[in-house]
Amino acid sequence: MSAVVTGIGVVSALGSGAEAFKAAMQQGVNACAMHEFERMGGAKAIAPAYRAVAPDAKGLIDPRKLRRMDRLIRMAAVSARQALNMAGLQPERGDVHASRLGVVFGTAYGAIGTTQEFIDSWLKNGQRHASPLAFMSSVHGILASQVALDIGATGVNLTLSQRDVSFEAALSSALSQLECGRADAILVGGADELTGLLHEFASHFRYVESGPTAGCDPWSGEGRAIPGDGGAVLLLEREGGPRRALARVEQARVARHDTGREMLDDLNLAGVDLVTSCRGGSRRAFTLENGRSRVLAKRLAAPELSHRGNFGNFPTAGALQAVVNVLMLQGQVFAPMAAGRQRQDLVAGCRLPRRILHDAASVTGLHGAYVLSAV
């Protein structure tokens, strides 16, 4: 069974909302900017990053509810509401029964900022006076739960953490849940936030370019990977429903690298005319990404794009790439940014894609893939 995407939502460094995101992609915006991060011990560091803008929740989420959401949850919840709005699906109106509406999210580090807040609360106030609110909001699984709480969805509710393929894992699970009839509609998304701690972590492992602002270069292999954050959501429904379909999700899988080839063999790749990948430009992942891309390019004779030069590199950036892919299937090919400039050469001669294979990998040994096609 395949499912269709009927709505998209996104909060990223390129803006809040699908329209802002699309406009920025069309204009080839490089959202990389210098940001201040607080390092462990309180020292400040100025470094390039793709930090998501503040989510525009106006008219989407009750301000009282919004106050109880941390930054990560806000990005997820606002993206979810945007996707529902685009599809014209209002849970409050009963467009879908609450028990048939699900929420499935991927996140690698969860609410890490709130986790730090919780630890700080006991360091500052003593172990007997740690913050209960920070604790309950720090649990990974609260991501999907908070979104469900906002929209009143009582169906399938899952949060998955699969490092760099967390979104792909969420998509695979959501598709499986629709397939076995446990839901009629599922908001599937990915979100991660960038904190000073994570920036330091990424710098230590040389995921981050140390030079001036220029932007990720997914094709350099010279360590030009610049971290970012954000959230994005697709509303998935069974095909044939009343709402307009934007794209079709045919298959999605997650497995280990050593069976990645077999996993791709399981997918029907006939007619795939574009491959998108998770290339971010990190030294560590470059060899792996390049190797896979060569295999795929040879096999499918299709161009390969990665748009992390536009919106940054983070574990669930795959969710933003999925939004890009839906938009491309809607009628435009976006030239990706690399080192701050548009790589028109990569899209020269590209036709409008009809079938996109997304291929994502994690340096820790995981592999995710899905096929998205035009409706």
Partner: protein, 414 residues
């Protein structure tokens, strides 16, 4: 999910009462609690609240079951990873899968605490340095690497060369049960023939102090469903099960320990931590699991309750069970006083217990019960034989109102 049937052919367990399923059985038979003082890390509250801490040596356990881990390998693994690896090794040994079947098998693991025992120590070291020297010089930054949930499942897949579908489920205390239900769905949909699924979580300062901050921990340990219960107790452990399609298990003449016949899942969408006051989500999960198994409430011979011992959970769960089962006809018991609330591992450890109950046609008591909170449930107060036990249901509930219920059916007789 009813077709094809999902066979359970391997079990693994680690918890406060010991490592290996035999240790679990012994503790249940002896009605012995593994709760005790927290010694894993320092805390000013460690003498106030007992915990379900595993007292053995996980590296030695793994060495006995599989191979010795080098210091470098062990250094890259969190305590949660080691708990998961030991339980996985036991389950895989019990299932005795052929190499090819194991290589194609997937891994679905429920987690919540993950590697925070390691990542929080990094943060605390830095904070201590900053407090004493005014600045921090971070070292062993790789301790942060295990903060996310992918590590344990990845460690299992890597160690045992398992290349099938992978997922780390993070639905708080229902994670292990959801991992099992979703793994079964992968087999039912034909995407896998064999899955290793379960849950694992270690103790951590964040979990211990977090539950203390919520005011839900009991200084005397949990007394599920007791009128005088004062709260829960945090534990650690892992439960792992090998699931196979019926055709696969029969073709290799594997002994089917039990069948996983039903899975139900819902979200309260009510509150971050408190359950829905009428247990609507819990009821929905139980009803779904029964429908999935094609069973009526009257078919169920035992309910393994989530039963944390907190005021809210036990009150609402009792109400939900009473509504679904209508009468006091079904025996109910919670295991939380045996090894504490093992968080994401809880649903998977309870699954192991349900399989043992079906294998041995025996129900173990709800330890710590003196006077029931009300008369709505048939609480198991002492071990009892259940010669006609055929189907059991297990509840798991998590933060955010995440509810999961599993139904297990008796397999081949021992």
């Amino acid at each position: 999910m009813p077709s094809p049937r999902i066979a359970i052919t391997g079990l693994g367990f680690v918890g406060a009462v010991g490592a290996h399923v035999s240790a679990l059985e012994a503790a249940l038979d002896q009605e012995r609690s593994g709760l005790g003082d927290l010694t894993l890390f320092d805390s000013e509250l460690s003498r106030e609240y007992p915990v379900g801490q595993y007292r053995g040596d996980l590296r030695a356990d793994f060495a006995r079951l599989v191979r010795p881990l080098s210091a470098r390998e062990a250094g890259r693994l969190s305590r949660s990873d080691l708990l998961a690896l030991v339980a996985a090794a036991e389950a895989l040994q019990m299932a005795a899968l052929p190499d090819m079947a194991r290589r194609n098998a997937g891994v679905y693991l429920g987690q919540s605490v993950c590697g925070t025992l390691s990542s929080e120590s990094y943060y605390l070291d830095c904070a201590a340095q900053a407090a004493s020297h005014g600045r921090a010089s971070p070292s062993h930054l790789d301790r942060l690497f295990v903060h996310d949930g992918a590590n344990s499942g990845d460690a299992i897949a890597r160690e045992f060369s398992m290349g099938g579908p992978m997922a780390s489920l993070m639905t708080a205390c229902s994670s292990g049960a959801n991992a099992l239900g979703l793994a079964a769905a992968r087999i039912a949909s034909g995407q896998a023939q064999v899955m290793l699924a379960g849950g694992a979580d270690s103790l951590s300062r964040i979990a211990f102090l977090g539950f203390a901050s919520l005011g839900v921990m009991s200084p005397e340990g949990p007394r599920p469903f007791d009128a005088a219960r004062k709260g829960m107790c945090v534990g650690e452990g892992a439960g792992m099960l090998v699931l196979e399609s019926e055709a696969h298990a029969r073709a290799r003449q594997a002994r089917v320990l039990a069948w996983l016949t039903g899975y139900g899942h819902s979200c309260d969408a009510h509150h971050l931590t408190a359950p829905h006051p009428e247990g609507l989500g819990a009821q929905a999960a139980m009803k779904q699991a029964l429908a999935d198994a094609g069973l009526a409430p009257s078919d169920i011979g035992f309910v393994s309750a989530h039963g944390t011992g907190t005021l809210d959970n036990d009150k609402v769960e009792a109400l939900a069970i009473a509504r679904v089962f209508s009468t006091r006809a079904v025996p109910v018991s919670s295991t939380k006083r045996y090894f504490g609330h093992t968080l994401a591992a809880s649903g998977a450890i309870k699954a192991v217990l349900c399989v043992l109950a079906l294998q041995r046609r025996r129900l173990w008591p709800n330890l710590g019960l003196q006077k029931a909170q009300d008369d709505s449930l048939d609480l198991v107060t002492q071990a009892r034989p259940a010669p006609r036990l055929q189907h059991v249901l297990s509840n798991s509930f998590g933060f955010g109102g995440n509810n999961a219920a599993l139904v297990f059916t008796a397999g081949d007789r021992p």
